[in-house]
Each structure stands twice: as C-alpha cells, then as structure tokens.
C-alpha cells in the first residue's frame, strides 16, 4: 500500500485550472523529484498535500484512509511536513527556537506554563547531531549560512514522527558545497524511511538524489518514472513539451 495516494486531484482558481486530474502515490523511503516549468502546477499540488489548499476534485488517502485537511496544521498532525522555499525562519531567534517554532516545549501547570529553553536546546542539539549538521542550537539564524538555515528548516520536520516531507526548492540560491550538504540531509531523511518530495528546477540535484521523477506540464502529470529509466534530456523535453508524454 502506498503511503500517500492522490486520486484524480484537480484544483482550479476561478477559470484557471492549476492542477488537472493528477493521480500519484508516494512510497516510504523514496525520494520523488517533482519537476516542471513555472506555473506547471507543482506548487499548487504540493500545497494541497500540505493542507494549504483543498482540492476542487479528487481524493487523498494517507495509509489507506481518506485525508481531509482544512489548515496546514492538520497536515502536520498527520505527519506531513513542508520545508518552505523561504524556509520560514526568524532571524532574531536561535536555531533551537526556530526548530520549535509553533511547537515550543513548555513546563508548568494549566495556563501557567513557561517555555522550557533547556529541553529545547537539548533536543535541537540531538536533531542536528542526527542530521550530521554543524548547526549549534544557540546560534542566531541571522548569522548562519544558507546550508545551516536549510538544516534548521529540515530539523523541524524531525521533531514529530513525520512520514512525508515536502521540500520546495531547497537548493535554490545556495552555494555548491551547501547543495551537497542539503542533498545529504535529504538522503538521511529517506534512510529514516520518510517519503520525500523534492520540488526543484535543478536537474543535477534531482538526478543525484531522487529515486523517481514526476514531471508536470500545464497542470497535468506528463511523466512518472524511475530515475534509472529516464535521463535529463528526456525530462527537459517533457518539461518544455518537446516530448508530449512518457
């Protein structure tokens, strides 16, 4: 049984058909590259999985049960985490505070509960160690490199028992060395048995880390195949429309 299954999902905004009749499934321990030109519907598709949008038509099933989400928080509760393109980090907060943003640990009774900084630093430190990242829990995010920032955003997904991690352009706008770091983080998540969806424009990244590639064009899924059975040339053709379908 697939971990997550989308059955004939569509989303339209007024007259604009952003996603048109897309079916796909995600497997645990698999990295899926999601590619397509700007406006192909990648972001809309991911935002439906992340609970930002509700599909106009079609159904989503998580481990066989129907999934209905109203807010992004619902997705989180189901173990679906998203790493935003802008990372959604606060510059003036520490790495640990950012990891726990919205899910702070607290101690106390009833309404009198205070933030448990010590435990948050400790847990964040464990997660960074697990990710083999050099990020220190007490460092302020504004002093960090792009790769470290990615590590903070990814560390968030490891707080809870996430099953699916959606990553929106994690390797855009960072240096070559940092790209390698981020790709390693993605492999780490996969090895933990998570399903990772990697939205990217960067062909080399997808071909180095993904097990499968899905190509979108004008709201439709035009390809869904194993990386081993495809090639960058074919995917480029599919994205541009030079190849109709594969």
């Amino acid at each position: 049984m697939a971990l997550l299954e989308l059955a004939s999902i569509s989303k339209h905004f007024g007259a604009i058909q952003a996603v048109n009749d897309v079916s796909l499934s995600l497997e645990a321990g698999e990295v899926t590259g999601l590619m397509g030109d700007n406006g192909a519907g990648k972001s809309t598709l991911v935002k439906m999985i992340a609970g930002n949008f509700r599909p106009s038509h079609g159904a989503m099933r998580l481990e066989g049960t129907e999934l209905v989400m109203h807010r992004p928080v619902d997705a989180r509760r189901h173990g679906i985490e998203i790493v935003h393109q802008d990372l959604a980090l606060c510059d003036n907060l520490t790495a640990a505070a950012n990891v726990f943003l919205g899910r702070e640990l607290r101690v106390g009774v009833g309404p009198f509960r205070i933030l448990d900084y010590a435990s948050m630093y400790k847990r964040a430190g464990q997660i960074f160690a697990e990710l083999k990242s050099e990020t220190r829990p007490r460092d302020l995010v504004k002093q960090m490199s792009g790769g470290q920032r990615q590590a903070v955003a990814i560390a968030r997904t490891m707080l809870s028992k996430a099953k699916i991690v959606l990553m929106d352009e994690p390797t855009a706008a960072i240096s070559v060395r940092q790209v390698a770091e981020v790709l390693n983080l993605i492999r780490h998540l996969r090895d933990q048995g998570l399903a990772v969806v990697l939205i990217s424009h960067r062909m080399p990244d997808v071909f180095s880390v993904a097990d499968r590639v899905i190509v979108m064009r004008r709201g439709r899924k035009v390809a869904d195949k194993k990386i081993a059975d495809s090639s960058p040339e074919e995917v480029t053709g599919l994205i541009t429309g030079a190849i109709e379908r594969a």
Partner: protein, 330 residues
Amino acid sequence: MATNDSSTAAAAGPQSGLRAMRFSVRLESLLVLAVLVVALSILSPYFLSVSNFLNILLATAVIGILGFGATFVIAAAGIDLSLGSVLALSGVLGALSVNALDLPWPVAIVTCLAVGAFCGLINGLLNAKAGIPAFIVTLGMLGVARGLGLVFTNGQPVYGMPDPIVFLGQGRPFGVPMPVFVFIAVAIVAHFVLAYTRFGKYAQVIGDNETAARAMGIRVDRHRIALYMVSGTLAGVAGLLFLARVNAGDPTAGLNYELTAITAAILGGTNLFGGRASVLGTLIGALVMGVLQNGLNLLAVSSFYQQMAIGAVLVLAVWLDQVNRARGQR
C-alpha cells in the same frame, strides 16, 4: 562586529547567569544611564540623594508602564500612538465611576483597566481584521480617546478620589511611593511574559517574520489583537496611577507620553521594526528618560526644551539602532 547586542554576544560565548535569565539589554542604554547619573551628580548638588532617586522612580513609573505596553506592540512590528490618550480616557472614566456614579473604590481600578483593554481591542481589531496600518489606527485612537475624555468631563478635571485610591498614588509604605511598587511588579510580570511565555515569544516571531509565523500555525491576527489589548491595559494601569497620584481624573493627562514611552522602548534595544524586544531594556530606557527629565528640572531648564530633548533622544535612539544593525550585517 557589533557584540553590544548582548544576545548575540552570549550566543557565541559561554552561557552566563544573566543570559540564563534572558536579561538581554543593550549595553549602550546602561552606559547612557550611567553617564547621565554621573554628569548630573556633578552638575547639581540636589541630584544624588535617596529622596531624589525615589522622585525619579515615581516620575518614571507611568512612563515605564506605558513603555512596557509599547514594547509588546513594537515586538510584533506594530506601534501604539494612543498610549497617552488612552491613559487619560481610562483615568477620566475611572474617576467618574466612583465620583459621579458613586460606586465603591475598586470599581475605579476595574474601570481604568477595562477602558484601556477596550481601546486596545478596537486598535487591534481595526489593525488585524480591517487591515488598517497600526500607525493610522492608533493615531486615530489618539484623537478619539483624547476627545472622548474631554467630552465626558467637559474639559475639567474630576477631583476627589476615595482614600484607597489616593493611597495607591500617594501612599509611601517604607518610605517608597506606592506607584514604584506597582511599577516594579508590572515590570517583573511583563519581563516574564515577554521572555518566558509562548505569548511573548510569538509577539517577537510575528515581528520577525510574519509569513513564518503563519506557516508555523500561529494565529497572527488573534495574537496581534491580544497585543494591542496588553498595551491598552497597561495604558489603563498608567491612567490609574496618574489618577491616584493627582487625586483627579484629568482629560489632559499624559499628553505626548506615547512619545516618551516609545523612546524608552527603542532606547532599551527593542527593534522599531519588530522581532527583538526586551522589557528590561525598556525599564532602563524609561529610567534614562526619567533621569533626563529630572536633571533638566533640577538644572531649571525650561519644559519647552525638555520636549525638544525627548524628541531628539528618540531620533538618536533609532539612529543608533540602525548604525548597529548596519555594522552587524557586515
């Protein structure tokens, strides 16, 4: 490298006791305070005395409490220009509740706080729900609350408070003015809430990166409304102290106090554009303002010049902050 932002310095270095208490204060503000105290001690023979220090604390109490309100709102990248007017309106209605309606004295306290909270609620709703910029909303409230206070009293102060209220303003247990006790209590609670609770943390998160706050499931609008209610309520507390101290509900009370309160907050290291805020910093900032005014009084400088001084300090404080950040980003 700008390490004078103590949170930055502490993050890099070993953990100190102060860091553990989350007392992040901008060192410049302490320096300015020290320089002022030394200078005034030399310039005026009356400055360096216990009674004068108590005077300063008494004068700083109202400004400081308003400053804490400003701190919470500014933490979330908002602004509250209505603090002084809300102070006056809540004082006036508090006075009328016991004076004209002849209700028991605790009603005055409740009225002051409730009026403040209500003004804050209106500010918050108009800002968060109607989407009107905080600057405009609270500027409007500045006019409306001030005008309402004048309407209710016909422009005349409402004299004569019950004894317990007068004690709150003029009593001196152990020789220390009551408002100073209130000031310290509010400071402790405010520091605790801002540094140790999710409520305070989220204020700074919203000010730092609103998109992130929303993405992480924080109810930004609701939080913002609550923050304006906090600053309104604190303006109500300040209004109560003012009312108690002068034994009258004065519709012209607290004129331009928002200017001083916001200056105190910025001077204390709270970032005008949100994301970084410190109650303790505001306390120091308020003391700087209090010492400055006290010193200018002792030196018999005209109050006209004092206005100029406050305005100049505000601009200077923001400029210092900009310079600091420009250095920090290099």
